[in-house]
Symmetry: C2
Subunit: 388 residues, 2 copies
């Protein structure tokens, strides 16, 4: 399945399926995992699929626009990145699939992504933080988002956001001003400039990072697609910073997915007199998010998350070999027989509590730790042969 010919067949199959199925499509994802993308596309085309897959594909299965979409993408510099490609961000999307298995509603990996921009999507996602918030950001929120975008990108951290007005745009703009990496995930085709006022900004994002979308070229944005898209922003960020959010901001859906993925969720305090900080303060008050006031605090909280923190493990290594200093100390501080609170582990490991809270879910995703009623305990280390 890994030769250039089969890759091309996979790509055409996935281009077809992306056009046919409206994301998220959990049954189709599962079906592809069973029979492979090429066979899945054939079966969808024939209509010979299990009921749940038919529900997701029957309405548009006659739209075979794979070649046209690939040509339209190429015409605007958009390539289709698939799980069969080296630049597929496997770790972030595996986390999404794992969270789905644990019951995250709508937390389904994309079938593939249309991507504009010269850089490898996987490399961009290796050290990335999502910066999200209200469209109707205040001057304060825009200022903070710009500063954070600039500071993170200048530190080499990819700023992932949704290119919307308000916080999103400010975060991207800060990253672009620093000539640092940034990724915009769109809720429309990667070829469309949406919002129109961000046309120039999107061009600059492509120069410094990537514009990505699971929607075929020409797909127009729709209200529900923004929420569906938010899961990809959360998955690509090793953590999520909510800069400003009203009581019912869409940023809260990104925050919820981020938590479900075990990523560290951060919120920026603001004036309690500001309606656009209400959502942030709710996240802080409930303990779902940790407060961040600076780029340094974001980096401290997220650390080297994602693929870096826990080495996926080659046949010759142990999973714990991939742990960096703090993560190794937290892992060492975990007991096997009983659970401990994050506070206790922070004391035992001598690692700041905020950092411990960020590391523990990542160890969990790596199969090195798990939650029990009494707190966190160590899992049996995975065997060296990749049985995770």
């Amino acid at each position: 399945m890994s030769g250039p010919v089969s890759r091309d067949a996979s790509r055409r199959a996935r281009a077809y399926l992306l056009r046919v199925a409206e994301p998220p499509c959990p049954a189709l994802v599962e079906f592809i995992a069973e029979v492979g993308p090429v066979r899945a596309a054939e079966r969808v085309r024939e209509g010979s699929v299990p009921g749940p897959v038919a529900d997701e594909t029957s309405a548009r299965r006659h739209l075979d626009l794979a070649d046209a979409d690939l040509a339209a993408g190429a015409a605007v510099g958009a390539r289709l990145v698939t799980p069969e490609d080296d630049e597929w961000p496997a770790w972030p999307f595996t986390a999404l699939a794992n969270a789905t298995a644990r019951g995250l509603r709508g937390g389904v990996p994309p079938l593939a992504l249309w991507v504009r921009g010269p850089r490898s999507l996987n490399e961009l996602a290796e050290n990335a933080v999502a910066v999200v918030g209200s469209r109707a950001a205040s001057g304060y929120g825009q200022h903070v988002a710009t500063e954070f975008g600039h500071g993170l990108a200048a530190a080499g951290v990819t700023v992932v956001s949704g290119a919307a007005y308000g916080v999103d745009g400010a975060a991207h703009r800060g990253a672009v001003a620093a000539e640092g990496p940034t990724v915009a995930v769109l809720a429309c085709g990667a070829d469309l400039a949406y919002p129109a006022g961000h046309s120039g900004l999107l061009d600059r994002i492509v120069e410094h990072g990537a514009v990505a979308s699971e929607y075929p070229p020409g797909t127009t944005p729709a209200r529900y697609r923004f929420l569906v898209r938010n899961r990809l922003i959360a998955a690509l960020g090793g953590g999520t910073v909510v800069v400003e959010a009203g009581a019912r901001s869409g940023a809260k859906s990104t925050a919820a997915v981020s938590r479900a993925l075990g990523r560290v969720l951060m919120a920026v305090p603001g004036p309690i007199t500001s309606a656009t900080s209400v959502g942030c303060h709710e996240l802080l008050r409930s303990g779902e998010a940790v407060a961040v006031s600076s780029v340094d605090e974001i980096i401290e909280s997220t650390g080297r998350l994602g693929a870096d923190l826990v080495d996926p493990g080659s046949p010759e290594t142990r999973a714990t070999d991939g742990l960096d200093g703090d993560a190794a100390r937290v892992y060492d501080a975990l007991a096997t027989g009983t659970g401990h609170s994050a506070e206790r582990i922070a004391v035992d490991a001598g690692v700041p509590l905020a950092r411990v809270r960020a590391i523990l879910p990542t160890l969990e995703l790596g199969g090195l730790a798990f939650r029990c009623t009494a707190g966190w305990r160590r899992a049996r280390a995975p065997t060296p042969h990749g049985e995770r």
Copy 2:
């Protein structure tokens, strides 16, 4: 010891000792607990006391100004409230003594308090919240402190603070504007108007609540006395709200004592661009404080704390009889065999996490719960006969 004559003797003894010993005086407090105030005063006067008590009393033991101080106090409407009086806030100061026993440095109850104002100090402290913060408060901080002071006092919650410029004064002013209860604890004699600019405010505080101090009439404020005084503000508040605090604000000492007393510590978010919110954000980020954005959230977090939450227990009642609805549910959710995290207890009890976090330390003070490495567990309920 409870007749009018012995009360008068106790009061004179304590007036003498307050003049002789600079608070906090842990050895003297312990000595009084052993031999009683009258005998303690005699022994101090004679110089026949244990070494640590001598260290605290020898410099001024010849200053026998009890009668003069009582007369000076009376002349300005200040009475000396002692542990032998009904209006002594026994619960708050017992908590201080307990915290001392657990190692809180400088957390020593006062020998007595000079008080101006018509209301019973104990009644004022029954449902009270400390509102503290920077002298150099921003307009935002002053606005929030005034709103909180007003809203709390209007809801019948006593606003305890230190009468300083900035947050303190604004909180008192809000309470006074609501014609609600407020207590100012001074770091100088209760007869002095300090700061001078708050002379009129102090008069109005006396009308609506109380001005209290452990320093004899005429004592001038000194830098170290502000920190010593802060422990009394923390003890009299069923919880402490830090409205604004710079990186090195004195409000952080009040916050630390509040935590050590097991009281809920709250911090107000503010702009991360504001130097006067840095201390608040540190408290939030570390998890020491819970974020509060409104009077309702303060009341939700503190609930009916202090003397109300856990009934001290008459011979005919169980300690758990005094638990209100939420506290009873939290107590019921505690396991006896193993500890659980506050998060788990919140789920089991169906009580908001912020409220659970406020209730648990109060149950601990009441001897109903304790912390173990795995979290919180239930203590054996005290016997009905007051053996706590």
